[in-house]
């Protein structure tokens, strides 16, 4: 065996090193220095991110296969992993205050270990070119998350959320593997490229069933409507740091893996089998997510439904089925990470300081905490797609990607998505209205948020302000996407 092939997995190896170091720190460091663990993790993760980023810049990340083609990496895959890493760093920074709390003293290490394991699972999902590896990644990314959701062990909702999450996760895995067994029965292989060759022109009812099960299985993780019912309860019940991790990192990784599966496995039957499925799913996801978000008063539930509809927009990159769409999707994920983490940063800060998470508690916030409300407003505008914030650019690019060479049907789809942006603007403005316009007798008192929380928010604000206006990020992504192996599958 040629051990040098392991070098291709350098991002995974870096992550494993981080994991091991955190584990060792947690196990062997004395009790009094345990408080340093969060910062220790952040620094290590930052190093891993920087290393991955530099190796890309130096051009050492090239296409290579490991384990006989089961694992695959290329610049575009490395790029999405770097995007996820950046998100994780922000989540970790924002969670320092929460993880430093007294209640967490015995379990602080576990939180970080579980988080890193799920991230490792997502890496595997993104890099898998064989369904066995994919399933290992998927499970690795879901099951530890259930434990993380249950982390607030003194809160009843946290338990309920964990049970809901684990049941849906297991159920969706079962559905997914049902689809896989159909695929295996049809083609006799679990390698992506072999299935691609075998299903080429082989439309059958079984194939439609197989694709539908696969979409449903992954759709649960992405919380696409109608597989979204767990989302609001879990987001509300989970600790805020976990919710933010769940809503951006988990969603971003799964969306990319989903695109890879749809293109590299079922790409040859795009227009025959799954274009219409995605078409219906996107319309449902965006519309239902938006309509339910309007009525939410709890900020975490509110962002849960908002993130459902955002997932619908991300899926436009899948149905676009071209390099522009792929690049736009990655850009969208990146921007979404920053915008959503900006919002969760504020929610977490207010929750940590006062325990309030209702939108009504945010009334008059701009008078008492102008900086927090400013961050929140930027995040809301970015999520709604208002220029000059990054969200506008990501939305514009994903629509442009979807419309490249599109049929009238896709134009209609984009029009529906665009009309939905107005609905979404309405509820995002409700938050802005609560903070800036509504008056309240007893608004949230002025408080000083923890240094770590402020750093997290400033990073998010920087991303919201500059990711769109500064073009190299998008230009790089589109160059990576156009030259990627995935682009060769976009045959149309």
């Amino acid at each position: 065996m040629d051990y040098s092939q392991f070098l291709a997995m350098k991002q995974e190896i870096a992550l494993l090193c981080v994991f091991l170091l955190v584990f060792l720190y947690d196990t062997f460091m004395p009790r009094e220095s345990q408080k340093g663990l969060p910062v220790f993790t952040v620094v290590l993760m930052l190093l891993a991110t920087a290393a991955g980023f530099c190796s890309h810049c130096l051009g050492t990340s090239c296409q290579s296969e490991v384990f006989g083609g089961m694992y695959f990496t290329s610049p575009v895959v490395a790029a999405i992993k770097t995007i996820l890493n950046i998100g994780v760093v922000i989540v970790l920074i924002q969670s320092i205050k929460w993880a430093g709390g007294e209640l967490m003293i015995m379990r602080r290490g576990e939180f970080y270990e579980l988080l890193l394991v799920t991230l490792f699972g997502m890496y595997l999902m993104v890099s898998a070119r064989h369904f066995l590896v994919f399933v290992i990644g998927l499970e690795c990314a879901s099951l530890p998350l259930a434990a993380m959701v249950a982390f607030d062990k003194n809160r009843y909702e946290s338990h309920e959320a964990a049970i809901k999450y684990i049941l849906t996760a297991v159920f969706s895995s079962a559905v997914f593997m049902m689809g896989l067994s159909f695929v295996y029965g049809l083609t006799g292989s679990l390698y992506f490229d072999k299935i691609y060759a075998a299903v080429f022109g082989a439309e059958s009812t079984l194939l439609v069933m197989a694709v539908a099960f696969v979409i449903a299985g992954i759709g649960f993780k992405l919380s696409l409507v109608p597989f979204h019912l767990w989302t609001a309860d879990v987001y509300q019940g989970a600790p805020t740091s976990v919710t933010s991790y769940l809503s951006v990192i988990s969603k971003g990784a799964t969306a990319f893996a989903f695109l890879v599966v749809m293109a590299q496995v079922f790409g040859s039957v795009y227009s025959q089998v799954w274009e219409w499925m995605m078409y219906a799913l996107i319309i449902l996801t965006i519309t239902v997510g938006n309509l339910f978000a309007i009525r939410q008063r709890n900020m975490k539930r509110f962002l849960a439904f908002s993130s459902i509809s955002q997932a619908g927009y991300i899926m436009l990159g899948v149905i676009a089925y071209n390099a522009l769409g792929l690049a736009a999707m990655m850009f969208y994920i990146l921007v979404y990470i920053f915008s959503n983490l900006g919002a969760f940063g504020v929610i977490g800060a207010i929750e940590n300081a006062t325990g309030k998470v209702s939108m009504d508690d945010y009334r008059g916030l701009s008078k008492t905490n102008p900086k927090l409300s400013f961050v929140m407003m930027l995040a809301m505008f970015s999520l709604a797609g208002i220029p000059p914030f990054a969200g506008f650019f990501s939305k514009f690019f994903i629509f442009t990607g979807a419309l490249q060479g599109a049929s009238v049907a896709i134009y209609v789809l984009v029009l529906i998505a665009l009309i939905n942006t107005i609905i979404s603007l309405y509820y995002y403005l409700l938050v802005v209205k609560a903070m800036y316009i509504s008056e309240d007798e007893c608004p949230v008192k002025n408080f000083k948020s923890a240094c770590s929380e402020r750093i997290g928010m400033w990073i998010a604000v920087a991303g919201i302000l500059f990711l769109g206006l500064v073009s190299p990020v998008y230009d790089t992504l589109i160059e990576l996407a156009a030259n990627s192996e995935i682009a060769t599958y976009f045959l149309r």
Binding site: F399, G405, Y411, V414, L415, L418, L429, I437, S471, Y474
Partner: protein, 509 residues
């Protein structure tokens, strides 16, 4: 990048934003606002002089000061700027109104945040008028829309929450259609295999949008911009929004932002899709014809001063779109004149209404009267604004409306004689009636509000205009009179160096 004069139209407001953020007291904020907006006026005058100089020297390019800097290379998105006479007229208008608006909000509460949003809005406005790249144009368009929400929501009066939300959502709804239309235009902007582009000059030159796509994309684009131009039935945001907005915001919104709609319809929809404009103009002609007359009638029955003026704006802005859809040079020249004229006089109106409201704390004309005895200066200004609005010769309204109706009759008669039906003719006649209705509601307000007995004895203690209010109004009145007295200057400025393709399309027919 910075050797191009146009870029400073965006740079100056951005610098103002930075300075405002540093300001500590009201004096500094006022200083920044006044110096900055004076700088903008100076800049637009310099641009005008240079432009005229180059034209006099015989430069025949469709647009001048054209420059383009790559932004997102893979999608061929550029920051492209360029102006012709029409955009220069709009830049002049905007800078004057920003200047007058700063003085009109001299004593606003929480001035720092207010001016930050107001100047952000003007970044959008100026950016929109200098852009010739559809992407940046659209981006600046939306930048100009969103500050409205907070400006109305925080500093507004009356039913402000409802109005602010309605206005924002309806305008964003328009821009949803618009985004669709613009991306559609982009994907058909070059012949098969050519380099796709967002640049308006190149799109017009390529003229490659297939006929079928034009009939799909033209309504999208026209409605998208038309919402901001208060086209019936998408005008309902305008009365509520204007009534709730603080003075300077009403001025800027009715004076400049609504022009974005008209300008956009004209620059994007009509320029890039001439065939569809020719075929589908009848639908929008009917809609805008309705807004002209309906707006005027509504103004007749309202008793709130701001509502009256807002409906009058619907009527006058309807006239802009109406004239554009006549698709001939005279009417289009009139449309641009009307944009200038309406922008100035409606800003004057809203400024005066704000000043009166600030003193009497009511805008109901039934509760006021005899203002001529109490505050003669403001009342005389109001009469002048009213006369401009109802088209008294010597003021701007007359010039604009005259040109529009002459052009419309021309278009109508041409259609009729060529056997294309009499729709244009009929609607021209209907729209002409709006002049009479305008006279009715203007004179009604003037009679009730300014003359007659003093309604409320408390009003006798009120004072007349302060110096900053005088400055604000005098600036606007001078401009209104200037257009009325020297129409030929503006006529020559507008003279279509960047020819809409529609003229040649109609020539062929």
């Amino acid at each position: 990048m910075f050797e191009n004069i146009l870029i400073y139209f965006v740079v100056i407001p951005l610098v103002m934003l930075g300075l405002l953020a540093l300001c500590r007291d009201i004096k500094q904020i006022r200083a920044v606002a006044v110096v900055g907006s004076l700088g903008l006026i100076a800049l637009s005058v310099v641009t005008l002089v240079q432009y005229l100089g180059m034209r006099a020297a015989g430069v025949e390019d469709p647009m001048l000061f054209v420059d383009s800097w790559t932004w997102f290379a893979p999608l061929n998105i550029h920051l492209a700027v360029g102006v012709d006479g029409i955009s220069i007229a709009m830049l002049l208008l905007s800078s004057i109104i920003v200047f007058a608006g700063s003085f009109a909000s001299w004593t606003i509460k929480e001035p720092k945040a207010f001016f930050l949003w107001l100047i952000l809005l003007s970044v959008g406005v100026f950016g929109f008028f200098i852009s010739i790249d559809m992407f940046t144009m659209f981006m600046f368009y939306e930048v100009a829309l969103i500050p409205m929400y907070l400006l109305i929501g925080v500093w507004g009066s009356g039913n402000k929450n409802y109005s602010a939300m309605k206005l924002t959502l309806m305008l964003m709804g328009g821009s949803a259609f618009l985004m669709m239309g613009l991306i559609g235009i982009y994907y058909h902007s070059a012949p098969e295999g050519g380099q796709l582009t967002w640049n308006l000059l190149e799109i017009v030159k390529n003229a490659s949008i297939p006929h079928g796509w034009q009939s799909f994309l033209f309504p999208m684009t026209f409605v998208g911009f038309g919402v901001l131009g208060a086209m019936f039935p998408f005008h309902t945001w305008s009365p509520d929004g204007h009534a709730s907005a603080p003075t300077a915001v009403s001025m800027l919104h009715a004076g400049v932002l609504m022009k974005l709609g008209g300008y956009g319809c004209f620059r994007v929809a009509i320029y890039t899709m001439p065939q569809a404009a020719h075929e589908l103009s009848w639908i929008f002609l009917i809609l805008t014809g309705i807004s002209v007359v309906y707006g005027a009638f509504c103004a007749c029955v309202k008793t709130d001063l701001k509502y009256i003026n807002a409906y009058s704006s619907v009527s006058h802005c309807g006239l802009v779109l109406f004239a554009i859809l006549m698709l001939n040079e005279t009417a289009m020249t009139g449309a641009i004149m009307q944009m200038l004229s309406h922008g100035l006089m409606t800003a004057l109106f809203f400024a005066l209404i704000g000043m009166i409201y600030g003193r009497t704390h009511t805008r109901e004309i039934t509760q006021m009267g005899g203002m001529m005895q109490i505050m003669p200066y403001l009342s005389v200004c109001y009469v002048i604004a009213g006369m401009a609005s109802l088209g008294l010769p010597g003021l701007s309204g007359f010039v604009a409306e005259m040109t529009i109706f002459v052009g419309s009759f021309q278009a109508g008669m041409t259609d009729y004689l060529a056997g294309h039906g009499s729709l244009r003719l009929v609607f021209t006649i209907i729209a002409c009636c709006s002049i009479v209705i305008t006279a009715v509601y203007i004179l009604r307000v003037v009679g009730k509000l300014l003359f007659g007995p003093v309604h409320d004895e408390h009003h006798r203690t009120l004072t007349d205009a302060t110096w900053w209010e005088r400055l604000s109004t005098v600036t606007l009145i001078i401009c209104v009179a200037a257009i009325g007295c020297f129409p030929n200057f503006f006529n020559n400025l507008i003279n279509f160096t960047f020819k809409p393709a529609i003229f040649s399309v109609l020539g062929m027919n």
